[in-house]
Symmetry: C2
Subunit: 188 residues, 2 copies
Amino acid sequence: MAKRNDVLDFAVLGVLSSGPLHGYELRKRLADVLGTFRALSYGSLYPCLRRLQAGGLIEEVSLTPVSETSAPPLSGRRARIVYALTADGKEEFDRWANHPGPEAWEDEGFAAHLAFFGRTESRVRLRILEGRRSRLEERLATLRESLSRSGRRLDEYTLRLQEHGLDGVEREVRWLTELIDEERASDS
Amino acid sequence: MAKRNDVLDFAVLGVLSSGPLHGYELRKRLADVLGTFRALSYGSLYPCLRRLQAGGLIEEVSLTPVSETSAPPLSGRRARIVYALTADGKEEFDRWANHPGPEAWEDEGFAAHLAFFGRTESRVRLRILEGRRSRLEERLATLRESLSRSGRRLDEYTLRLQEHGLDGVEREVRWLTELIDEERASDS
DNA sequence: GTTAGCATGTAAGGAGTTACATGATTTT
DNA sequence: AAAATCATGTAACTCCTTACATGCTAAC
């Protein structure tokens, strides 16, 4: 199992795990949670919802979504399709959040896991943060190696770009170290 | 014109502009120049070469590529197909390098332009750097706005991730400002 | 009355990857 | 004799975006 769009599926389940929502609203939450960049189009989202529904992880409900606290008579507006997690969906989300695979060290996967750290056990959080840091340290080694290998014959500006990229990764490693230290302190 | 793969095409023309190369070697140079990340697969590169050839921007040559300085009798080895820029290809590359479109402010496009700054006029370099900086300042405004809008209801960790992303963009703006100042100084 | 925002969806296409197919040469 | 590196190429597949189709309500 687990082969297809994984990260997106996980994010959708994660957002739905705080309450039922319809597609349009879901997309906005997704953008907030994963960063404005990962604001996917409806052309991705709606097929994803159908896929999750077909897999029995979410279902249509007729409840008003949580966003509508003091419901305006939901007068007209086009019919919304509100989705909620099923029991299987909750289970699947929990499996994702607390039994991370190697996708959790990659850029997108890591961001998605971090976004739902509130639903992840402290022990697992630490594992994800450390795994991510190792991943970046590997990348750092590769970058340094390639820079010292081809650095001399590179354009001055290209060199600056590479060095800037390297600094960025180093910065992220320091950031992760901070998070790890805090996690260890609060866990103790 | 100009609709399809643009950035990749530009990068290939750019690498070939320092001398003829065959696909295998070209791919390695491309990785050095654009960062190891942008190391595209042969499944992308070879079709790209055929596309450029069909467009008359590159052509097959029987010369040994520059990489073979003191040629080992090129004994066996599978037949290599060495490509060189045509006159049209040189012209097209120059148009790219010195008449940048809006793609030059985006992540990939900017990296590609920077990689060939050696072949770009100082005046144009400045324009690209400043355009990129404006682009990032826009992004900064969007991020800040979305952070202050949805920041309160965000998970502590998600917030940290967003802030880290924001810091990263600010850092890039400072970096660009350095480059711009240097460019202005050397231009004077 | 027209624009903006809400709301769902499909079809076509772009850009890339992986896995495969093929085969030689050099190094271990 | 196996493994690594050189070298070119194709087919299938993934994931995503854009543009379109539809239609309602609220605000200007």
